[in-house]
Symmetry: C2
Subunit: 488 residues, 2 copies
Amino acid sequence: MDDQHEDKAKEHVEDSLEQVMLLIARQKLVESLVHKQDMPRHELVETLVHKQNLAELTHKLDEMHPADVAYVLEALPLEDRLLVWDLVKAERDGEILLEVSDAVRETLIEAMNNRELVAAAASLDTDEIADLAPDLPKDVVQELMKSLDHAKRLQVESSLSYDEDSVGALMDYDFVTIRCDVTLETGLRYLRMLGDLPPQTDKLFVVERDGRLLGTLPLKRLLVHDPEAHVAAVMSDEPVTFHPSDEASDAAQAFERYDLVTAPVVDAKERLVGRLTVDVVLDYIRAESESDLLQAAGLREEEDLFTTVWKAAKNRWLWLGINLVTALIASRVVGLFEGSIEKLAALAALMPIVAGMGGNSGNQTSTLVVRGFALGLINKDNSKRLLAKELGISVLNGAVWGSIMGVVAYLLYRDAPLGGVTAMALGAVMAAAMMLNLIVAALAGYFAPAVIDRFGRDPAFGSAVLTTFITDSMGFFIFLGLATVFLL
Amino acid sequence: MDDQHEDKAKEHVEDSLEQVMLLIARQKLVESLVHKQDMPRHELVETLVHKQNLAELTHKLDEMHPADVAYVLEALPLEDRLLVWDLVKAERDGEILLEVSDAVRETLIEAMNNRELVAAAASLDTDEIADLAPDLPKDVVQELMKSLDHAKRLQVESSLSYDEDSVGALMDYDFVTIRCDVTLETGLRYLRMLGDLPPQTDKLFVVERDGRLLGTLPLKRLLVHDPEAHVAAVMSDEPVTFHPSDEASDAAQAFERYDLVTAPVVDAKERLVGRLTVDVVLDYIRAESESDLLQAAGLREEEDLFTTVWKAAKNRWLWLGINLVTALIASRVVGLFEGSIEKLAALAALMPIVAGMGGNSGNQTSTLVVRGFALGLINKDNSKRLLAKELGISVLNGAVWGSIMGVVAYLLYRDAPLGGVTAMALGAVMAAAMMLNLIVAALAGYFAPAVIDRFGRDPAFGSAVLTTFITDSMGFFIFLGLATVFLL
């Protein structure tokens, strides 16, 4: 929606949502009324009001930016979503499917027949087709590939061949190349001849006849330098480039670090094979941070807000299952001390505090360590200092919060019958357990990510569970153990 | 580092870190050796090896991109960090200070005297000075402002006047304007005269004599259209624009949605006041997602990995304090049932499972709801459906996990002496408590963010604590309550 005041655009998109919902509601009202007079459906569809209503809704959608239509679709409950989806112009289906979240895309694709799907996908660039392909039915993809010319089919196939978190999966094939031996004047004439440049273009790629990348010619330089100058003299001859196999996250960091808008992608022989653009990088970064937040809560994949109960539940079971197991083990630790608890039930009331504080403190450490790994800030030379610092903090916190809880426990049970045990002694055990468990927490928060990383898994996912598991179990064990030894 | 293969650049930056650390280590070795022969420090500094070493280190740093130096500084323990910081060329201090994280910047600024700070800041653009100012000592800022000419001082002051999460705080003043009544040819000549364009420039801003924004002229169009054409005929006359007071997060969403590289910022009278660029938006999005992850763990601000124990501890206390209070309240709930626990200690072993599963399930719901709020996907029309779905899931999960835990509890205590209570009954209570607490979890996970949002706070921060607090307390209450009523 280039021609829109964003501020308006933003209100606009939420207004649009309101309006669309209103029209849908009106629509349903009409249908229900008509239904009461049980008029046959085909006549209903004939009724003027019905027609006007749909026309209005269709018009509304036509004037919206694909990304805004996508936003509305995501905010609509399934039934209404499909109603709207039917009214969207077929030739816009492709770009909108690209904009919606994976979960919502699934629901839209389910509602389309193969012919529609092929048509929608065919309207896209090859790199976009590759993005969509994994979500399409096999036979649709086959039909689609048949409909493409050889060159395009190769592009789609190569895009599909790359890991989804690699540069190859994010790059497009939409770039303008130029020879190094021509003048800028020639370049300018060439561009006028082209009549348009691909989106995001901020530089041309300078290539040899054999396709080898020699450098890049930023449009800036093309504009400000003497038209008589040769490209070779003006180009930047050591641009930031990527390989299709580079990790997308590394590329994203390079885009941030070096403020890139576009960058060439080259193969092992330095031949130009594609282009990476900042808008794709932006979407990737956003998607990554989204999934980090969702995974931290154990949502394996982003969920359509209005998906079916069944689908959503399955999405959450792995996590709940893992946590049930860890909780069970922790519970068995408590089980070992049921004798002590029978004698002194106060222990049962206090033990969750020791475990809980350990969990919170441990996850503060693991969060920092996970982040340090992700940013490559931690290596063997500085890791010891980091551990030392975290242990130092845990000792300090142990002293502070241990003492506080010791006093609190004393005050709570000062006047309670503890079967011979003094509230003072109980407070002391509480304080000691708290201190020890916070040290355990620092160790767990530090080593959990390291170990998971060692096993080649993503620390961002497992660290929290593992840390909490350790601090819970050890928290119960230390507190109940000390109590058993010193109080009973 | 425009002239660098990123892949290399990436290795390069980690190699650089290794090399710098090596040189520092060697440096220390020399000093210690010399120290053993207790040679006076000034002679040491004279020693050749010492000199060579420093020269090598300095050279290494000089050839590194500011962002890469920043990366190395963040990965170095304080002492080494300051050693390196001393060797960085003074004229690069400014840009490097901009690149490092807030926490690390603090440590670097502490190590500089006012003169150095003023010099460093003076080398920056006005919008960058404004970014730095809040971290600088008051007197430095004053001196700095005096050193600026009137126009620049106004720019810095206006930048400082905006909320840090507003467009005004992110925009720069580094744009090229053009009149609408000139030809593209004239425009091209004008750009050649300028000799260079500001970074990220993808469009010129078309303004009236009174500074009102009429539209934008994408460089693309300037390049491909007939030079004889007038700007007015070629420009996009309704570009996406922002107001300084717009929220940065809304602007970021617009950049993502409409794939922008730069956008004009206008005041209430549509007069051009600044420019927003995608590299700044990228950094903003990254910083936001970072702080979301850190806040989720209760780290109030991003922490220098090697900060002092004391500073780090203070950063974490608020969170631990809040959690201590909530844990205490939950513990008092257990306290109510100490009588029951004395009779049946198995309850103490099983209750953490009920609470824990509720917490995990509740946080899955709250995470989705928080995200829905953030993306503006939830409104009064669809919120009921969302709640219904979450309740549906919790009932399903309650049935599934409740039954599982019921059976597990039965099996665990089948042969254990339960003082008259049958393991079957215990299992039944466990199952019922689990089901009820998962329903509580869905309600808590749904309403906690809503309530926090209502109070104008950021749901991303408080929702997890509040949800967990409710599921813990209610989990204990439901399970122990049912047990007391039906078992004892």
